[in-house]
């Protein structure tokens, strides 16, 4: 495959996460993700998918193990987590757009405040991204004036404007009305085609089959299966994956 010789951009080793309330959400999860790879994570609700994704940009800290992002140890002594996050974009289930700013300014805020890039350059970049996600006409709308699908596309543009090396998606279409799922998935597909490294938690099996290079299956905080979409969906060997697929497909 085209990725065989690519280097690992995410290396998670023996990651354990125990929440302060005692919930053991991740149990010795290890996974490596290559540059340009699209990895889809599926699993039942409460299996630790979001927790794992959120450890990859340290929205959740880990209890033990290690995570290396682009050769930087996330928990290293000299690691600036804010710097690291600049290159790891995240898209949330609930969009989390900033409601007090117009769509365009949502996209422009972080590059201006965090990366301190020139305003004219950022504005041009942001407008190009808004066009790319098909919202050139809605740049000056506030989030409350946009549909769910439009908001999620703005959220993707917002993350892209930081020029990330990795994009994390946590159930990006789960909060959407069915007729809006397609427009968001289309944006994600084109992003995958351009070679973006993506880690996607989703229930959209069609997306996983079509776009993913690899599919991971999590249950009860454990990473049980890692496989190509073809084997994953058509020749599942793990009994718990078989049971899960028989429930959802």
């Amino acid at each position: 495959m085209h990725l065989q010789n690519a280097e690992d951009i995410i290396i998670a080793k023996d990651v354990d996460k125990i929440y302060p309330n005692g919930c053991h959400a991740l149990k010795k999860v290890s996974a490596s993700i290559k540059k340009g790879e699209v990895v889809v994570i599926i699993g039942p609700s409460g299996s630790g998918k979001s927790t794992f994704l959120r450890t990859l940009n340290q929205l959740e800290t880990i209890s033990s193990g290690s995570i290396v992002i682009d050769q930087v140890d996330m928990y290293g002594k000299n690691t600036n987590i804010n710097k690291l996050r600049e290159h790891v974009g995240m898209v949330f289930q609930s969009f989390n757009l900033f409601p007090h700013k117009s769509a365009l300014h949502n996209v422009m805020m972080a590059p201006l405040k965090v990366s301190k890039r020139a305003k004219s350059e950022v504005e041009e970049h942001a407008k190009a991204l808004m066009k790319k996600v098909g919202l050139a006409e809605r740049m000056n709308n506030y989030p409350s004036q946009l549909s769910g699908g439009q908001q999620q596309r703005v959220a993707i543009a917002r993350a892209l404007c930081m020029k990330p090396k990795i994009m994390l998606f946590d159930e990006p279409t789960s909060a959407l009305d069915p007729e809006m799922v397609g427009e968001v998935l289309d944006v994600m597909k084109s992003l995958a085609k351009e070679g973006m490294t993506m880690v996607v938690v989703t229930h959209e099996m069609g997306f996983a089959r079509e776009v993913a290079d690899r599919v991971l299956f999590m249950e009860d905080g454990e990473l049980l299966v890692e496989d190509t979409p073809d084997k994953f969906f058509h020749n599942p060997t793990h009994p718990r994956l078989q049971r899960f697929l028989s429930q959802v497909l």
Binding site: N57, L59, N82, K83, R85, E86, V88, G89, M90, F92, S94, N96, L97, F98, P99, H100, K101, S102, M109, A110, K113, V114, S115, Y142, P143, S144, A155, R158, A159, M162
Partner: protein, 315 residues
Amino acid sequence: MRSENRALWQSVYLVIVVAFCAVVYASSKHINYNWNWQRVVPYLINTEPQSVRAPFDGTAKVSTDDKTLTLVPDAGGEPVVVKKFSAISVNDGDLIFEGDQVATISNWRIGPITEGMITTLEISLASLVFAVIIGLFIGLGRISRNLAIRQLCITYIEIIRGTPLLVQIFIFYFFIGTVLSLDRFTAGVASLAVFTAAYVAEIVRSGIQSIPPGQMEAARSLGMTYVQAMVNVILPQAFKRTLPPMAGQFINLIKDSSLVSVISITDLTKAGREVVSATFAPFEVWFTVALLYLVMTGALSWMIQRLEKKLAASD
């Protein structure tokens, strides 16, 4: 509501208000009170002409067109031309003695009640600014992850909210004021600011906590530091939500400022008390004072409402 109903209840409201005023008026008649609003006016704005007095014994010379007044001293020396006046009170050739009124200047001066109101405004404004600054930091400290900071802020809030403002003003004036040699005004402003800040802090805290956690997560995931996320994302949204309770708190501040009269600051309330003893018109004075407080609080809540409307653009 249907329109005829509206008109009906509008008139019921007016009737009740008029009836209430009539009751107030009737009860004052009952105790033989003579309303004399006229007496309050000079204490608001003093339009009484001021005297221009002769600086020495001498003779007055008034030009035929009544435009210039010259005073010639008896003891010799340069004559003095009175420059500013609006009416001459002497005739040409009159003998004048030192201290005599030779002319008057009509001059609008603010009366003691207005001066008191200005003092109240100054105190309220100064303490409001400090209360917001202190309150913001205490409110942020209240939700800090650092236990020491959090507990310090909680202690501050509990102590301030658990003791009467009047007592705090005395402590500020007699204890802290003496230790740091603060003047009355500073002590008054400090106590009001510290008091109001405790309430502002709680408003700030609940405002911040009312913002969904996803906002902070989104901001942090874009690489913003905690402070950048607060400044650019959380606080602007919280600010909008805290405006209504803030308005209430600021109105309380204006009213609470009347308590500083106990440390002899001549604010609106103290001015009212002084004017009452000078005029013996307590009802008129206190009604006037109440009205002036109402004007200040009303203006403030009007301004905040306008700001709210302006910020509602993104809703």
